[in-house]
């Protein structure tokens, strides 16, 4: 490819000129600027062709249409028992849907805005459905899946590097930089959520 890819890119007018003079001693009667322009335009077109050919090769690595089509799932909340969580898979990642007990809710509500960034539990749930917490179940440190109902704060404990989350999924202790992420979701009915 090397020899051809370089038609335009390396085509410098001074090279052309010296070669022509070397071999035939003719300089041509053309205006030098115009000659430059033709070679530069052809070179630019070659570069353009290269870029155009490169783009599909890069873009093919972006998520394909069938992958994107799985970006939304619906979930029936009646499947979660009080005090338990259900882990569902969404976009290849675990999502925790946790039905918190009144005792857990009382504890986390009393704490106000904590974690990183400081958030109240109300910031992380939907009004009228405060008992349900929906968070992405990968530790914001390096992506391990935290263990349910363990750690110092009654939420989750990440076994990889020791991050402690509370029952609102907020980081309270350990190396994780952020609270567990809350995905975009909405209630399509009283007992059904659509995630994504």
């Amino acid at each position: 490819m090397g020899r051809h890819g370089s038609i335009g890119a390396h085509e410098r007018c001074d090279v052309t000129e010296s070669v022509e003079l070397n071999h035939d001693g003719h300089g041509g009667g053309d205006d030098a600027t115009r000659r430059d322009f033709i070679h530069i335009a052809a070179g630019a077109a070659a570069v353009g062709a290269g870029v155009m050919m490169a783009w599909p090769l890069v873009n093919q690595m972006n998520p394909a249409a069938d992958t994107l089509a799985l970006s939304t799932i619906e979930f029936d909340l009646t499947k979660v028992a009080e005090g338990m969580q259900v882990v569902i898979k969404w976009q290849g990642k675990p999502v925790f849907v946790r039905y918190r007990t009144p005792a857990e809710l009382a504890t986390i509500k009393a704490e106000g805005a904590v974690g990183s960034p400081p958030e109240t539990d109300a910031d992380r749930t939907k009004a009228g459905h405060e008992q349900f917490l929906v968070v992405i179940g990968s530790c914001t440190h390096l992506g391990c899946v935290p263990t349910f109902n363990s750690g110092d704060y009654g939420g989750w404990f990440c076994p990889c590097h020791g991050s402690h989350y509370d029952a609102s999924g907020r980081i309270r202790k350990g190396p994780a930089p952020r609270n567990l992420d809350v995905p975009t979701y909405e209630y399509v009915s009283d007992t059904r959520v659509r995630i994504g």
């Binding site: 490819m1 038609i7 085509e11 071999h23 052809a42 093919q60």
Partner: protein, 433 residues
Amino acid sequence: MSDHESTYVPKTGIEKWLDSRLPIIRFGADYMALPTPRNLNYWYTFGGILMLCLVIQIVTGIVLAMHYVPNTEMAFASVERIMRDVNGGWLIRYVHANGASMFFIAVYLHMLRGLYYGSYKAPREIIWILGCVIFFLMIATAFLGYVLPWGQMSFWGAEVITNLIGAVPVVGEPLLIWLRGGPAIDNATLNRFFSLHYLLPFVIFGVVVLHLWALHTSGQNNPAGVLIPKERTAKDTLPFHPYFTVKDGFAIILFLILFALFVFYMPNALGHADNYIPANPLVTPAHIVPEWYMLPFYAILRAIPDKFGGVLAMFGAIGVLFVIPWLDTSRVRSMRYRPTMKVFFVIFVIVGLGLGWCGAQLPDAQVVPGMPSFMLLDGQLNSYLWLTRLLTAYYFAFFLIIMPWVGLKETPLPVPASVSEPVLDGGIPEKKG
């Protein structure tokens, strides 16, 4: 050419530092300054075109391998998923599929050019042999690649072609099972074919490097077929860049236009509709045909009534190309100055196309519909079987009889003393532009 001295002078400190450690810039600069026969015509642009084809196939192939699944259950659907769901996947896959055909169009023209201008003759025998190796590897790669979409033609093509191995006496059967990884074409076969299809292009690339190395050692041939002595280098050659970069570049763009017409407007014209039917080991298509570029060899295979004989003839048709440098007895390289051989060459080209045509027909079908004929040995005379045999006979005769015989007997036209020195008769026309 071979004794071309480096004119590269490192300018900056970094260039000097690099030049004494890895003279890669010098290599590139020398390549660009390579003295090239000034009379090379457009038939000489196919080398560059082929290099582009190889790069296109490798790059698109690597990308397709990111999405393709080499499993009999999923291969067909994964190819269709590339065409439907992967971003721009339809383009990449059509470029790769049609790219194989474009590659063969270019390689056949490149080979015919070499044949016409005597590019295989001393001191260029190794260049030619390496080219034959590349051609053989290309056929292998294309065959392996055609199996991957796991359509009906993929499957049955693989079935028929691997069965050729079974024709080998004694070891044929165990060899066949070893090659397939089982008693039939199945998942094991698909997996190894995928692996080898990925590997071979890089082997081809390696042989291409040798091909170019040999080319730059013995120097390029030219349409006049005369050697360029050292003292005439300045007069008879031009530096590769910009003269031949721009000429090759222009030819490449015209080739890309043809390529684009196929990819965007008739992407499936060169393929077979049956390959969009998922492979079914229980149903054989009515008429199994290989891709168009294999048809001449497929025709030769079928021309021989004996199974092993057919296999030998088919491989012999490729094998004979390797010894052309020693079959041609002529003192003159270029057929431009060989009027008799030129006629045989034109017939050879027509015979090649004819063999391709025959390869796509049913052997028993009539060549001239309705014309009465008689049985000759095992078939009607007016059948593709006998036409194929006739053409096959010419194919081998061209190399084994005509080439040595005409070379000794014919009186060539006066050959110019050098590239830039026309002779009275048959010299190089001085042309502008």
